[in-house]
């Protein structure tokens, strides 16, 4: 557990970089980091190193496996090409290290939606072990975050979404190998009931 006066442990620094600290511990870590140049320098250096780190060396796939993978890729491309308009509601982010994409489905970009109808839906990621949905306001301050096992989520009634305000939502999926797939953030607005 982080206290404001103690320097952050290696575990806490790694979890801060990966954004996997609990909200309470994250707030404590932020409080400490805002006043501790030494820990901040370590976080900054390690975040840079982690972002530029090479992927782990794994056993190379054999040629038959590569063949099957290529066939699957062709099938996926052909399938998505045969569905006009399917990509209109989906947004994906592909990172430089080739992590998989995540696709948001609903609400679509710039949708005007009633609070009572607000429900977030995204596409399934076959490699995912769980999802995290993040909704932020225009300043980027998180409004609602939740971990989910399935591909939809409804915010509790207590979450104060304001009418007319623009919000951004995105979804992340964690894979078995520890990599994370993310969607782009999708803006939407709450319209009066």
């Amino acid at each position: 557990m982080v206290t404001p006066d103690e320097h952050l442990s290696a575990t806490e620094i790694a979890a801060f970089i990966d954004r996997t600290l609990t909200p309470r511990d994250r707030a404590r870590a932020e409080l400490h980091l805002s006043g501790c140049g030494r820990c901040r320098a370590e976080v900054a250096a390690c975040a840079r190193l982690a972002a530029s780190a090479p992927t782990p060396q794994r056993r190379r796939p054999t040629w038959p496996i590569l063949g099957v993978a290529a066939a699957l890729m062709v099938a996926v491309v052909l399938r998505s090409a045969s569905k006009p308009g399917d990509g209109q509601s989906s947004q994906a982010r592909t990172s430089a290290d080739g992590r998989a994409n995540m696709f948001t489905v609903f609400p679509q970009r710039d949708a005007d939606i009633r609070r009572g109808e607000l429900r977030f839906v995204w596409r399934r990621d076959d490699r995912s072990t769980g999802y995290r949905i993040i909704v932020a306001d225009e300043t980027g301050a998180p409004v609602w975050t939740e971990d989910k096992g399935d591909t939809s989520a409804s915010p509790p009634a207590a979450i104060p979404f304001k009418t007319g305000v623009r919000y951004y939502w995105r979804v992340e999926a964690l894979h078995l190998d520890g990599s994370v797939a993310q969607s782009l953030e999708t803006p939407f607005r709450i319209r009066p009931e």
Binding site: D18, L21, A27, G37, R40, A47, S52, D147
Partner: protein, 247 residues
Amino acid sequence: MGNAHLGSKPASAARPSTAADYGYPVTLLPRSLERLLSARAASATGGIDDIDVAWRAFIAEQTRLLLHVARSVSTNHDDTMDAYAFVLEQLRADDFRRLCEFAADPRSKLSTWLVVVARRLCLDLYRRRYGRNRGQGSVAGRAVRRRLQDLVAEDLDFHDLPTVHTGGAELAVRQAELHSVLDSALMTLQPQDRLLLRLRFDDNLSAQEIARLVDLPSPFHVYRRINATLAHLRRVLQGRGIESPVP
């Protein structure tokens, strides 16, 4: 859906001992680490001792990452390889104590944790060898100290020594006053806003790096937030009679 990284409170845990027990988001361990820890457990109970095989497999998987970290804190190939060997030695020390600690509380990805731990170990090695780095503006001084250690026989050029700049006493007092007012104004900010400013202006991180660290959706959100925070700070400073950054 498997046992995901989703945080969950234990239903009947008497005494929390793992990340999941505490409700932390739990990541699954990479297979190579699981295999290593299983081999270690088997070896401890007199089972088949394939711990060396598992350790070699783990190293083979993580070597590029560890070398990447070692290179980041080294100045030449020999230093890099020394640091790499030291990290491996320390990861294996005390019956894989560090890796066991990570496995008991895997709050982050293994790769991120390895980056932090390996970097700390590399810096420990260099501190033992070259002494602790003291002071902020001593890059040139560090280089000289390193040369003193590495190349004792070589003559040193006194031009390499860092120059010390001093200002007038009155200016120093005014600067100290200004810093004091600024520090107290900064304390009126939310910790996350203060952290944003520190990361941007003290540590020179890019907006993209900051966005990733503080969980903002994009660099534009970082700029917007920083601008709003600076405007607030300016108002606070003006309220205290500070109109210019010049002492």
